[in-house]
């Protein structure tokens, strides 16, 4: 794989918008999801969950449950292998699957039962006796950081750049990046803004709940069908939890009904496998109710963020400081370092210090959520930037043009930025119809915010074979979350100079395709697209050799272009379709595979513009109009790129306006249903206008840079800045729900 590709500019397939192959199956119900798995002799598994958010488990007795007719078996942490010789991460994985000694959050799995039907399994749960010793609860990240806070994990020490504290703490790690001289920078600033922000725990809100069906075979092999963003990730995690070799596990990813980062981790998969093993090797199917999804899968972090920014009188940013404290849930692993990477990334600032803390609290272990950590950090950073613009009397976009990073500028960690299109995005935002349209009427305001997401490359694999009719069968390793299957096939079609319709694509499982990381980090179209580009070069080379055989010339005397081969000696021509019919007589099937790990993913920048109207009586905020402008590299399938941006904005609006986990003082989740966990609906959203700015990424043969995550980063900040212009209050807490808006308005009146 070359790392020095020059993006190709004249495309035949890339930039068009063909229909996705799975569309009709999905709208007619034919597509097979995890719930569609039906196997002979299948049992149904359910999970007993802790009603307490912090409790020592003194005893678990499953005997009555196991004696219930129709029940085939029950499992607890005692059925897991020993982890005394394992690392903490592996042990935490297992403990999150089944609580061992302590329950650390409301909904923490304590036991699981398999029965002949789900009703008997549910009845059996009521027969399991668990004795708990209730412990003090810590839900707030800053309370958890206090010296005298109750400790969740006795063995947890604070890690700090290779050192380890000598006492237990809820702070799992402290990271810091800095450049310049912060004190000097602030001493030179003419204007300084300093604010504190709070964001709530929010969930990805995918509609399809977690599900898994597992078959533990008598020879030790395990097959798992599930809804996941990455089959290999499930395989590796289950192997760690059950302590079996990865080669003993086959994971078949079913179609997925949304993931957004929340389906990278395993929950039911190891339990279904354990139960299948224990229940005479019958297959066991498990599906979460949505109350379980909200209570016990991974939401993203609540956070506390403090920001201070200073600018010179001419508007140039001089110094910036941020402290980010992210709640990791019950086990370490919040996305705080991603937040650190994002918070000042759009700006050239000579003096910066960013500190990040990963903190455990009595909430479910957090998982990724679309640009994990970025939205929290960007909300804080961009609201402060907006206030600074106001103090300076500068137009917010002119301020960004003055201070915005360009290719080669360095981030706070010292890393130089590759080719980026941030200034092109700002200029495109200045030309949007929304920005030039007047916004009139009381309680209405317009806000803008920028955003950044670094994107990720990672390992991807694909294999392909040429059929006798000249069409190509492609097996690619990336689960199709949104539009990856089409965008990857389009890149193969482009590389093979064939129509898109000549590529038949399936998503492989762990036994049918090479190792491929999950679909996360906006990586699938970038990295798996690169894998199919590489295998296309191999296919073309092999096909030229076959044509050379037929023509009795040397392979380098054969040319290929637009789906046909040319004999450079005789000037004869032969279509790929015609050549494909001669495969048997020239050496058998032509197949190729490629595995890549590209690392020049190219970051994405965007500018969002929000118009809102605030009802001063109720505090309700209506989003009147919204435009998202983004550097998308080269848009492989422009309509689906727009869809990715619109989806990210919709989720960002939900995060900004309404979504939050509501706990009581004992740490019980009070809104564990989609009636009470307020996702945005079509009635809450305007048509989201998009502007695709194409600054190709030179780190990819077709200029691709990831697009899916960046759009969720700016919305809460853009909305907060719009609300300020509508009613004059600076919101510093998410969500900006009606009660919080009213509270802020009353506070403003009092002052």
């Amino acid at each position: 794989m070359s790392d020095k590709q020059t993006p190709i500019k004249d495309f035949q397939v890339i930039g068009t918008s063909p229909l996705r192959p799975d569309a009709v199956d999905k709208v007619t119900g034919r597509a097979l999801f995890g719930d569609d798995v039906r196997l002979p002799g299948m049992l149904y598994g359910v999970v007993l969950r802790s009603p307490h958010s912090h409790a020592r488990i003194l005893s678990i007795d499953t005997r009555k449950a196991e004696a219930l007719p129709g029940v085939f078996g029950a499992v607890t942490a005692a059925d897991l292998p020993s982890f005394t010789d394992a690392g903490a991460y592996q042990r935490y994985q297992a403990e999150n699957a089944l609580a061992n000694q302590k329950a650390l959050y409301y909904g923490h799995p304590v036991a699981a039962v398999a029965a002949i039907n789900p009703h008997i399994a549910q009845e059996a749960l009521g027969l399991i006796d668990v004795t708990y010793e209730i412990l003090p609860v810590i839900l707030d990240v800053r309370q958890a950081m206090a010296e005298d806070a109750p400790i969740l994990l006795d063995d947890l020490r604070t890690h700090e750049a290779g050192s380890r504290s000598d006492h237990s703490s809820n702070v799992a790690s402290h990271e810091q990046t800095s450049c310049g001289d912060l004190e000097l920078g602030f001493s030179q600033a003419a204007f300084i803004v300093e604010r504190e922000f709070h964001t709530s725990t929010v969930h990805q809100g995918y509609i399809e709940p977690q599900n898994a069906t597992a078959q533990a075979h008598e020879d030790g092999q395990i097959t798992i069908w599930c809804s996941t963003q990455g089959a290999f990730g499930v395989r590796d995690q289950v192997a760690e939890i059950l302590r079996v070799p990865v080669s003993h596990i086959r994971v078949i990813p079913m179609e997925i009904g949304g993931g957004f980062g929340g389906k990278n981790n395993v929950y039911l998969e190891p339990l279904a496998a354990l139960l299948s093993r224990k229940c005479a090797h019958r297959p066991v199917k498990m599906i979460m109710g949505y109350d379980e999804v909200l209570a016990a899968t991974g939401p993203t972090s609540a956070s506390y963020i403090k920001v201070k920014i200073g600018a010179a009188a001419d508007g140039r940013l001089i110094a910036a400081q941020a402290v980010l404290c992210y709640a990791a849930g019950a086990y370490p692993g919040s996305p705080v370092t991603s937040g650190m990477d994002c918070i000042f990334a759009p700006y050239k600032i000579p003096h910066v210090q960013i500190d990040g803390y990963d903190v455990v609290v009595n909430k479910p272990r957090t998982a990724s959520y679309r640009a994990p950590g970025g939205t929290n950090a960007n909300f804080a950073g961009e609201v402060v930037i907006d206030e600074l613009c106001e103090k300076l009397g500068m137009d917010p976009l002119e301020f960004r043009l003055l201070n915005g990073v360009q290719t080669g500028d360095r981030k706070a960690d010292g890393m130089p930025l590759p080719v980026i299109g941030f200034h092109e995005v700002i200029q495109a935002a200045q030309q949007t119809p929304q920005l030039s349209a007047p916004l009139e009427g009381p309680y209405r305001g317009r806000g803008v915010a920028c955003g950044y997401w670094g994107n990720y490359g990672g390992t991807s694999s694909a294999s392909a074979s040429v059929n006798a009719d000249g069409a190509i069968s492609l097996v690619e390793g990336s689960v199709d979350l949104g539009s990856g299957r089409v965008a990857i096939a389009m890149q193969l079609a482009e590389a093979m100079e064939l129509p898109y319709q000549d590529i038949q694509t399936v998503v492989g499982d762990t036994a049918t395709v090479g190792y491929t990381e999950g679909t996360y980090g906006s990586r699938a179209t970038f990295a798996t697209g690169w894998a199919v580009y590489e295998l296309a070069q191999s296919l073309k080379g092999q096909l030229c050799e076959r044509a050379a055989l037929l023509w009795d010339v040397e392979p380098d005397q054969v040319g290929y272009g637009k789906g046909a081969f040319t004999n450079r000696v005789s000037a004869e021509s032969m279509s790929l379709r015609a050549l494909a019919s001669h495969m048997d007589e020239t050496g058998g099937p032509v197949v190729a595979s490629a595995s890549v790990h590209p690392s020049k993913e190219g970051p994405a920048f965007g500018v969002h513009i929000a118009d809102v109207e605030v009802d001063p009586e109720t505090g309700k905020v209506s989003v009147l109009r919204y435009t998202a402008v983004q550097d998308v590299g080269k848009a492989i399938h422009p309509i689906y790129v727009e869809g990715q941006i619109q989806g990210g904005v919709a989720q960002g609006i939900g995060w900004g306006m309404n979504e939050e986990y509501v706990y009581d003082e004992q740490g019980r989740l009070l809104n564990a249903s989609l009636l009470d966990y307020r996702l945005p609906t079509s009635l809450d959203l305007p048509m989201i206008e998009t502007v695709l700015v194409e600054v190709p990424n030179p780190g990819h043969p077709y200029g691709v840079r990831g697009v899916g995550e960046m759009p969720i980063v700016p919305p809460p900040a853009a909305l907060a800045n719009a609300i300020y212009r509508a009613v004059g209050v600076r919101m510093q807490i998410l969500p900006m729900s009606p009660p919080r808006i009213l509270e802020a308005l009353w506070e403003k009146e009092r002052n």
């Binding site: 750049a161 990046t177 450049c179 991603s338 994990p372 010292g414 990720y456 980090g521």
Partner: protein
């Protein structure tokens, strides 16, 4: 000589220096040289002969998969970065 961007939390070992120059042919040699010049640096960056999993190393702007085995050019720029979590 390679230019090393010293992680913020390790600058107490370099007397506050944010960048230092080191002659080294690989990241492993560079870490050894840093340890010799700034005792304690090696154990903060590495454990059991490997770069700690909490660090990634970027050479000339690209995060390296080879980590300690990554070759360096005489004018390479080396960053030890906190691993980006989430994803």
């Amino acid at each position: 000589m390679a230019v090393v961007y010293v992680p913020s939390l390790l600058r107490s070992l370099t007397g506050g220096l944010a960048q230092v120059e080191v002659a080294a042919g690989s990241v492993r040699e560079l870490v050894d040289a840093l340890e010799e010049r700034y005792p304690g640096m090696g154990v903060r960056l590495c454990e059991d002969g490997r770069l700690r999993p909490t660090f990634s190393v970027a050479v000339d702007g690209v995060v390296s998969l080879k980590r300690l085995n990554q070759k360096l050019e005489p004018d390479s720029e080396v960053h030890f970065l906190p691993v980006i979590s989430g994803g």
